[in-house]
Symmetry: C2
Subunit: 386 residues, 2 copies
């Protein structure tokens, strides 16, 4: 793990927010950080240079998608995922588990691993904790995630406990597989603590994870439709149990208000498809909340969507032009909105980092919350999947 190091550089009194740096062989990551998602070896609609220009420091790619298409062999022949997709910064790969349980067909869990059929062509595949580590090591990602067993909610306590315990055993196997792997260029392995909304289970899982020999601690299974207060109270419970000298990564969280709340409670890393997916529907972040660029009121707004924004879109194009592009279903609209939303989140993270350095995080957080009107998520909203 010599090519990976996490250092906390600043703390702010009275809050758990912290400012740090993760060093990887593909470059440094200033934390707290939001990671855009590049599911199929591309952050949807964007060129890697545009992703970088938004201030993105690290992206997430999906092992499930990549193992099916283009497949391990093509990625190996290409010289790894970075060269294949032209992104030379750090990459975090997930284990494939989330998509197997949400997107693949006929997912079947055995102790050995999980079998499933591709959503693309129905072909049969198997992923084990060992093969998930091996695949990610071959892809060449800097940060790898262990395979975990997810269950759809609601589920019985027994089902949840069974999956949780299997995830624990799989994590132990992942750590061994990672340690014993002879791929010299392998990245580091994080661990994941699940536990649904069961406070006691969450505690146990987090305490277990804290003992494991992994480079970072991921928190899974939150922001899946529960009220924001529930997520906050879970994080309050979990974060102190996770080692302070490892980055804490809250998986699948990406709304601006959740990023602020997560950082306040001690989270260092986030990823989510939300900013890119919302962008493609014409929903753009501003400091006042989301705006829907398709609304007729933007037809004649000949100024930037967000006067406070320094992104390449707002610097050059008007709300009226974006409105026109979305109404006309032009691809450039998807691109410009994606650039804006990614820059918005990257900039929020910059504000957070600066305010932690200046010990003014709490005031900055309050000031964000006072202005930003979040979209209230109904618990029946579909689960955002990558």
């Amino acid at each position: 793990m010599s090519s990976f190091a996490f250092t906390v550089t600043h703390r702010d009194d009275g809050v758990n927010a912290r400012r740090g740096v993760i060093r990887t062989r593909a470059g440094a990551i200033q934390t707290p950080v939001f990671m855009p998602v590049g599911t199929q070896a591309t952050v949807k609609t964007l060129h890697p240079d545009e992703v970088e220009a938004t201030g993105a420091q690290v992206i997430l790619c999906n092992t499930y998608h990549l193992m099916l298409r283009p497949g391990e062999e093509v990625l190996m022949d290409a010289g790894g995922l970075h060269r294949f997709m032209g992104w030379h910064g750090p990459i975090l790969t997930d284990s494939g588990g989330f998509q197997i349980f949400s997107l693949a067909q006929q997912a079947k869990v055995r102790e050995e691993g999980v079998t499933f059929r591709s959503h693309i062509d129905g072909s049969a595949h198997t992923l084990t904790p060992e093969s998930a580590v091996d695949l990610q090591a071959r892809f060449g990602s800097e940060i790898m995630m262990p395979l975990d067993h997810l269950v759809g909610l609601p589920a019985s306590k027994r089902t949840i406990e069974d999956a949780t315990e299997r995830t624990t055993r799989w994590l132990e196997r992942s750590i061994v597989a990672h340690r014993d792997s002879d791929i010299l260029t392998k990245g580091v392995l994080f661990g994941i603590a699940q536990g649904g909304m069961d406070r006691e289970l969450r505690r146990r899982q987090s305490q277990f994870l804290a003992q494991c020999d992994v480079a970072g601690s991921a928190i899974g299974g939150l922001s899946v439709g529960e009220p924001k207060e529930v997520m906050a109270s879970m994080l309050e419970e979990i974060c102190p149990l996770l080692p302070a000298d490892r980055p804490r990564y809250l998986m699948g969280v990406g709304s601006p208000e959740d990023l602020w709340d997560g950082v306040a409670l001690g989270v260092d890393m986030f990823d989510c498809v939300l900013p890119t997916r919302l962008a493609r529907t014409g929903s753009l972040f501003t400091l006042d909340g989301r705006v829907d660029i398709l609304k007729a009121r933007y037809r004649d707004v000949h100024e930037a969507v967000d006067a406070d924004c320094d992104c390449a879109t707002c610097a050059r194009f008007t709300a009226a032009y974006l409105h026109h592009l979305f109404r006309s279903r032009e691809v450039l609209g998807l691109r410009l909105a994606t650039v804006h939303n990614l820059r918005f989140l990257a900039r929020q993270m910059e504000f957070m980092r600066t305010s932690i350095e200046e010990r003014s995080f709490e005031a900055a957080h309050r000031s964000f919350d006072e202005r930003y009107r979040p979209v209230v998520r109904a618990s029946s909203d579909p689960l955002p999947v990558a």
Copy 2:
């Protein structure tokens, strides 16, 4: 017309190919030139900076599309088409005629003009020679086209002659409207000579156009499915009749072999949706002919699609990555292919310009033809419309 000038700077002995410069208030255009099409105020999938980086010097926008959406008022409030879409180079606008006759509903021609219904929302509109000039002047394009009456082929000689004569009368009205327009920033007006495949009609139309007070001569109604030899023989007939001191513009032509043939016969300007539309189907130009990037053989080709190409796509990404993006239906694939095809055509034009300067056009043309395997167009192929 002080903001527009055309100068022929080089001729090559023995061929009609010529090298020149069109000066407009939005910049100079080195000729011969290919103009990418930006139908709805965007060259599909690309940012204006990317269009420029392909070597594009001037783009074409469609009056029909723009008058319906975003509409004249929005474009006026935006400060004109250039500012609206962020393209600061020269723009040529068509008159709207072609789309009215190919895309709109219930097009009805009267001597006054043409009435039609929008293909978007069925709303009723009228375009006259005068209003077409006025609209384009308000959009702020550098080069405007007069409304013409097009008829679907096959058609009776009577129908064709009737439409041709109306086009002549409409051109005269367009010239008056342009001369009398009080829009100080108006661009120049070109004339269009139609005439189908009727050699005698083509001659008459071209001779008439030569007498008109317009800044350039457009040739319409070719490359609509006729064999390439027929188009060549028409151009051989027409070009010498069109004034040598005005640019000759062959409308709707954009296959690499047609560009070489057109320039050889004295054409200075071309436009077509072909390179951008083909790109979005995964069809990419190379010096050997088009390739279909979706073919399985590109799955493992870890080098540029076209080793001879200097475009931003070939410099950075492999055929295998493009193949993956197209198979995965990722937007970035459309973009990268579009950049490649536009750069390919821009570079062919550069080769033509250099070879004319060096008086080696004929040899360069032969060398292109010997290598390039064109796609033979069946006469039943659908008409490419913008």
